[in-house]
């Protein structure tokens, strides 16, 4: 049994126009000390899924079903009060934009100490000392002075460090980082990613990192889960997914971002069209309207039948959701030569 085990997670939002299936049957496992990267575009359901793990959806507007087993306890079955007590203590979260994620009217130190005092019966003074200790741990210079600053007096990178301090102050066993570096500059992003890896080793936490940046995933994650239209479309170890992807959407992600270290001859192949509507998702495979390989599938399977998540051609726990019979061959022969001609020769 894994430390975190999510089974068939569904998050549906009933609206006047119909049910928005933001997450529609998501399953994955994660061990302590490991990192899972969840990749997808806006509206793919990645943030909605992690909010469900934290129990942040309000019952009044979201229907959450499935199983979220954290250390053997199903987070969807426990009471609201029990879930609240676990929030911030067992499961903590870091958000994308540290400026808006911190309350502008309260001092940074107070906000961090507050997170500690919710779960520990200690004096304000002790909590403050603990906050300074955490600020020091995440590399904020002069923590005993900066603890009394307001968020707007911090730089972007320092704010994200403070958010990390806030998230880790209770020593959580699961840390969810939702686009933790998207709002930051590259050199600051590098600092924050280093810090996260460093802290993960110390705290032996399981980490979920949500991002649209495959580069971040490549550096941080042991496993990758690619989401599209509320569903997992490819799942496996990072190395496997990045070197032998078997789902055309993943190919599209790889081919549509230019790389700093890429062959200058590499071409930019955009994914045509727009991300799907979750209210009215396309029939069959959600990706078929934008897929450039659908003609290789016999009949109109892609239009009519939603593919199951099936093992990839190379095994090793690699899962993909695609009707293509020989995705490995298509990738080697058609996709790779376009996006990374230099790699073809190496193989």
């Amino acid at each position: 049994m894994s430390f975190l085990s999510v089974r068939d997670l569904r998050v549906h939002f009933p609206t006047i126009d119909g049910v928005v299936k933001a997450t529609d049957g998501l399953s994955f496992d994660l061990e302590r000390g490991k990192t899972l990267g969840i990749v997808g575009e806006s509206g793919s359901g990645k943030s909605v899924s992690t909010s469900a793990i934290l129990g942040l959806h309000r019952r009044t507007n979201a229907i959450v079903s499935g199983e979220i087993l954290l250390d053997g306890v199903d987070l969807l079955k426990i009471s609201d009060e029990d879930m609240r007590r676990r929030r911030g203590r067992d499961v903590a979260m870091i958000f994308q934009d540290p400026l808006s994620a911190m309350h502008p009217y309260y001092r940074v130190g107070n906000q961090i100490a507050e997170a500690y005092r919710v779960h520990h019966d200690v004096s304000k003074k002790a909590a403050r000392a603990r906050a300074i200790e955490m600020l020091d741990r995440v590399g904020i210079p002069q923590p005993d002075r900066r603890v009394d600053d307001y968020p707007h007096q911090f730089s972007g990178g320092m704010r994200q460090r403070a958010m990390i301090a806030m998230a880790l102050i209770n020593n959580p066993s699961l840390l969810i980082a939702d686009e933790p570096t998207t709002a930051l500059d590259v050199t600051v992003q590098a600092q924050i990613l280093d810090l996260l890896q460093d802290l993960q080793r110390d705290f032996d936490a399981a980490v979920m990192i949500i991002t649209h940046d495959l580069g971040v995933v490549a550096e941080m994650a042991h496993d990758v889960l690619v989401m599209y239209g509320g569903r997992c479309v490819e799942y496996g170890s990072t190395k496997e997914i990045l070197t032998h992807p078997e789902m055309p959407y993943t190919w599209g992600l790889l081919s549509s971002i230019p790389e700093v270290g890429a062959d200058p001859e590499a071409k930019l192949l955009p994914i045509p069209g727009n991300p799907p509507s979750l209210l009215n998702p396309p029939s069959g495979c959600h990706f078929h309207p934008r897929c450039t390989h659908r003609d290789k599938v016999p009949g109109d399977l892609c239009w009519t039948v939603s593919p199951e998540l099936t093992p990839g051609t190379r095994g090793d726990g690699h899962l993909k959701r695609c009707h293509l019979a020989n995705p490995d061959v298509v990738y080697e022969r058609e996709v790779l030569p376009e996006i990374a001609p230099d790699l073809v020769e190496e193989r």
Binding site: L54, L56, T60, R84, R85, R86, R87, G88, R89, A92, M93, F95, D97, S100, A101, M102, H103, P104, Y105, E114, A115, V118, H119, Y150, H152, M163, M166
Partner: protein, 338 residues
């Protein structure tokens, strides 16, 4: 911070001076001859001329404005004209330091008129303000946390009703039913604390304050509801929930503090405006406050009183603005100037 307040006060004084000038010029643009009105209906031309001299209306408008400013700072004496003063020294009346003018119609200085009416308006404003702030915020927050339920809809609908009915209707309605028909309270007539004690003061003020408060409360309920709902969607509220905070602290400590900031501005300005008199409410309940003074001065074309009231109201609003800005800096650390 201190420098900021001083700078704001300095700008406020300049603003006030400019405002009084504009008011002066506007009133003198009116087609009527102020001296003729001040003198009365059956004045001969000679009498009008004399009134003109006595009140200084014969001087150019700009000079009169300078005299007015001078009167505010050091006080002045009536009649204006030297020869008149020499002729009848027994008629000289003194208008002490903050002299806002002399109302010939009522035969008193404007300052003393205001002195008499101001406590009425202030009492009304303070009591109404307390009622509508407490009620407005309370019901607004209740509506926000019960969003979409019957309670929320009921509160919103009710506030719409009170907002839509004119104040004089609600005032007369309360007067007719609560005071006259059912006799739950006496028909209100203003009593000072000295006269009737705090109890008497309060009971006489209750109906007029309620009338005023209901109108403002309706607006504040809707604004509070909107601000709280908006604040609930902020990222830092999600952070607060992700920390594991209970509902209470999330709502009162994190949501409300941010949501109520914009209300401070509205409340400050609304209160300042009310201190200058609630025209309709005071008229309905026959309270001799500043609002009634405005109406009477208008009817009798009492120019000095009108100018004095406009300048006073302007001063209230300017001071309230400064207080609101300072409060803002106290609430929101981002606004604090280094």
């Amino acid at each position: 911070m201190f420098a900021y307040v001083v700078r704001r006060l300095f700008i406020g004084v300049i603003l006030l001076i400019v405002m009084s000038l504009v008011t002066f010029m506007l009133f003198f643009l009116m087609p009527q001859d102020p001296a003729r009105v001040a003198c009365g209906k059956n004045c001969s031309i000679a009498q009008i001329k004399q009134t003109e001299k006595a009140l200084g209306y014969d001087k150019p408008a700009l000079t009169q404005w300078v005299d007015f400013l001078q009167g505010v700072v050091v006080g002045r004496e009536y009649p204006e004209d030297k020869t008149l003063r020499e002729k009848a020294p027994e008629l000289i009346s003194d208008c002490a330091a903050p002299c806002l003018g002399y109302s010939r119609v009522n035969q008193v200085t404007v300052a003393s008129e205001i002195k008499e009416a101001f406590p009425v308006s202030l009492s009304l404003a303070v009591l109404a303000f307390l009622m509508w702030i407490i009620g407005g915020v309370l019901f607004g927050v209740i509506a926000a946390v019960t969003k979409g339920t019957v309670i929320d809809r009921g509160i919103v609908a009710l506030s719409l009703v009170f907002y839509a009915f004119p104040t004089f209707f609600i005032g007369l309605f309360l007067l007719k039913f609560i005071a006259i028909k059912w006799g739950l309270v006496d028909v209100p007539s203003y009593t000072t604390i000295a006269e009737g004690g705090i109890g008497g003061w309060l009971s006489n003020l209750f109906l007029p304050s309620l009338t005023l408060a209901l109108f403002f409360m309706a607006g504040y309920v809707r604004m509070t509801r909107a601000f709280v709902l908006e604040s609930m969607t902020e990222d830092y509220i999600r952070t607060a929930r992700a920390k594991g905070l209970k509902r209470g602290p999330v709502l009162f400590k994190h949501t409300m503090r941010a949501a109520l900031t914009p209300l401070v501005t509205m409340a400050g300005l609304d209160f300042a405006g009310l201190m200058g008199g609630a025209i309709i409410t005071e008229s309905v309940f026959n309270f001799n406050g500043l609002g009634k003074l405005v109406v009477d001065a208008n009817v009798s074309y009492d120019l000095p009183t009108l100018i004095g009231l406009v300048v006073l109201l302007g001063a209230f609003v300017i001071v309230a603005n400064i207080i609101v800005d300072v409060l803002y800096a106290v609430i929101d650390p981002r606004v604090r100037v280094a």
